[in-house]
């Protein structure tokens, strides 16, 4: 990979450097053509059904609800803040100048806080005031290149933080609430007000470095993360209060995109799918996300890094597969076990998501629970798959990096209704292979669910599974509370908002 890739790493093309001053009208017309299909046809930018309402997005407004309606009973010990983050704005402009992003990943970060207190449950969501959001909000137009939408730059792009949407995950580290993206810095928010404080620089020389949205956190709060860009990989080791303890930068074993990883008590574990970048396509105007290629004849690389010494790295290989998200990893007797959700290739991101963003009813490729055994003595990897169609695996935060028994997922009951939103939650007991599961009706669209430990308990699974969903008939968003060891019993509480919110990707529950 050459230096040129930086130009393109977050969706900007090198060619647009020369054309950034291109007349606004001309480029807007070009953009409309890209987003709106053939001239003359003019289909609406979004034609989604009632089920897909959350994909319409907001228009930059913040929302709040002081007391959500509770059905059932919120357990007395369940107290704290459930922070979530996701792309919340997809459209700008009016009339014929209206534009809609073509990719779900492009929307501006909207950070949510569900607060569980003795007075009940409140909800608040505020847009992250990134440089890009502030400029675009005042212009009522898209000005920055995006990950998956071919948009010309109408503002200076000096580094990836100029196009940072802070839209993927959120975690409270020390007194900072980190809104995380993949291609640039984390953004620091006030954990109370959700007011944006600015981008985080862990040390002066790491300014504007990529800081991915899937940190892994030891039970004691030690924080591990990585970033990839321009053929380089950076690793971060932070203290529970957010001081940089060590970092390393080295040549990435593989190119295009790395979304998530896993940790054991000894290692950082990466499964690097064979994703390349088609620079010719980018020169012709494709966005970064549109130029990612699936090199299925190459291997998926397994990168294992010593937690105590980032210079100790080992690479193994497996047949090609795609992975976005990991549940957990643990290590004993020189064998690492990793669980993740596997898909065949990039079609979910490259094909299904853009169609979903237009409101098309398309059932995505399946993605299944997968379990890899990495035998470090033999240098061999064995993978086992299951049938369930799911995503967003999570484990109890008390067992991250340690031997875990349970993995939790939102799951499809059968075919995903209209191709959008899960309808059930499940726990896989990885020792017995048994499934504990609850299916809602097809009138809900569920997101990621997270495990919240019961305070003062050290037992895996002792606590609750908490997540978010959308009630199609009521056109309202809600939160769920399950007994984490008995999902089949159904939710102990459903907490309803009087409004719907855009869909989130990820979040964390910080217990009081």
């Amino acid at each position: 990979m050459n230096r040129r890739s930086f130009f393109t790493a977050v969706g900007a093309t090198a060619a647009s450097a020369a054309t950034a001053s291109m007349a606004q009208t001309a480029s807007s017309a070009a953009t409309r053509a890209v987003l709106g299909g053939p001239a003359g046809a003019k289909p609406p930018l979004f034609q989604g059904s009632a089920r897909m309402t959350p994909l319409r997005g907001y228009h930059g407004q913040d929302v709040a609800c002081e007391r959500a309606a509770i059905e059932g009973k919120v357990p007395q010990e369940l107290r704290g803040v459930f922070y979530r983050n996701g792309p919340g704005l997809f459209e700008r402009g009016a009339g014929t100048n209206k534009q809609r992003y073509s990719h779900w990943f492009d929307g501006d970060g909207l950070v949510h806080a569900w607060r569980f207190t003795d007075q009940g449950v409140s909800h608040q969501a505020r847009f992250v005031q990134t440089k890009k959001f502030i400029a675009e909000q005042s212009a009522n137009a898209f000005l920055a290149p995006a990950f998956g939408s071919a948009l010309p730059a109408h503002m200076p792009v000096r580094n990836s933080d100029d196009v940072n949407t802070a839209n993927t995950n959120v975690y409270k580290l020390g007194d900072r609430l980190l809104a995380m993206w993949e291609g640039g810095s984390a953004t620091d928010l006030d954990p109370q007000s959700l007011h944006t404080r600015g981008i985080v620089t862990w040390s002066p020389e790491l300014k504007h470095m990529p800081f991915s949205a899937h940190p892994k956190i030891d039970p004691d709060g030690t924080f591990w993360n990585f970033g990839t860009m321009m053929g380089k990989m950076v690793l971060y080791h932070l203290s529970p209060t957010g001081e940089l303890l060590k970092h390393a930068v080295f040549d990435a074993p593989t190119g295009g995109m790395v979304h998530d990883f896993a940790i054991t008590h000894k290692s950082l574990v990466f499964l690097l799918p064979p994703i390349g970048i088609d620079y010719a396509a980018m020169r012709k105007g494709a966005a970064f996300g549109q130029a990612l290629t699936w090199n299925g004849n190459d291997s998926t690389k397994v990168l294992i890094v010593d937690r105590n010494d980032f210079s100790k790295r080992r690479i193994l290989e497996m047949p090609a597969f795609m992975v976005f998200h990991f549940g957990n990893a643990w290590e004993a007797d020189n064998v690492i076990r990793v669980d993740f959700v596997q898909s065949k290739n990039l079609d979910i991101m490259s094909d299904w998501m853009p169609r979903m963003m237009r409101g098309e009813t398309v059932v995505p490729d399946r993605s299944n629970p997968a379990f890899v055994k990495i035998d470090l003595n033999r240098g061999k990897c064995d993978v086992a798959m299951r049938d369930e169609n799911c995503e967003f695996p999570r484990v109890d935060p008390r067992v991250v990096g340690l031997r875990n028994r349970n993995v939790y997922y939102p799951v499809d009951n059968g075919d995903r209704p209209e191709g959008f939103g899960f309808t059930g939650v499940m726990r896989i007991d990885t020792e017995s292979g048994k499934v504990d599961r609850y299916n809602f009706s097809e009138q809900v669209a569920l997101e990621e669910h997270v495990v919240v430990p019961r305070p003062s308990s050290g037992r895996e699974g002792d606590g609750w599974l908490v997540g978010v969903g959308f009630d199609v008939a009521a056109q309202q968003s809600f939160a769920t509370v399950f007994d984490a060891m008995n999902l089949a019993a159904g939710p102990q509480a459903i907490i309803r908002l009087p409004y719907w919110t855009p869909v989130c990707f990820h979040g964390h529950f910080h217990t009081a």
């Binding site: 230096r3 130009f7 792009v157 790491l206």
Partner: protein, 143 residues
């Protein structure tokens, strides 16, 4: 194809330390007011002619301590013609424009006409301005 930011960083270093000072007497003076340069380190200013390699070796260069408000530098006795300026703020005083490990500048920089690139420096054409017989003043805003 525009130069990469890494080239840009290297170019600044060359520009400032590889100065080929030369001037015919009795030309115009160019006053450059630099705004928003902060109050850390030194503003390093490089002046290019069309015959120079843009962001390679500059014809002239100068430096001034960064101050809040405006920093002013002057180039004297310029012959008539086109020029363009690139500058950066050497906040840590190491004489280089620092980058992070993947080559992205982490010290402030700017160009004449407040020209901007897109993930890279602007072309000379976007940053150029004309100096005639009479003295001239321009303003460059950092960020």
């Amino acid at each position: 194809m525009p130069r990469t930011l890494l080239n840009l960083a290297a170019a600044f270093t060359i520009s400032i330390f590889g100065l080929a000072a030369s001037s015919a007497a009795f030309g115009a003076d160019l006053t450059v007011e630099i705004r928003n340069a902060g109050d850390k380190g030194t503003v390093m200013v490089a002046l290019f002619k069309p015959s120079d390699r843009w962001l390679g070796r500059a014809s002239m260069g100068t430096a001034a301590p960064a101050r809040n408000g405006a920093v002013t530098v002057t180039f004297k006795d310029l012959e008539e013609g086109e020029y363009a300026i690139s500058l950066f703020v050497d906040e840590n005083g190491n004489g280089r424009m620092d980058t992070n490990p993947i080559g992205i500048p982490i010290e402030p920089y700017a160009f004449s006409n407040d020209a901007t690139g897109n993930f890279g420096p602007p072309l000379f054409e976007k940053a150029k301005f004309n100096v005639a017989k009479e003295n001239k003043s321009i303003v460059i805003n950092v960020k």
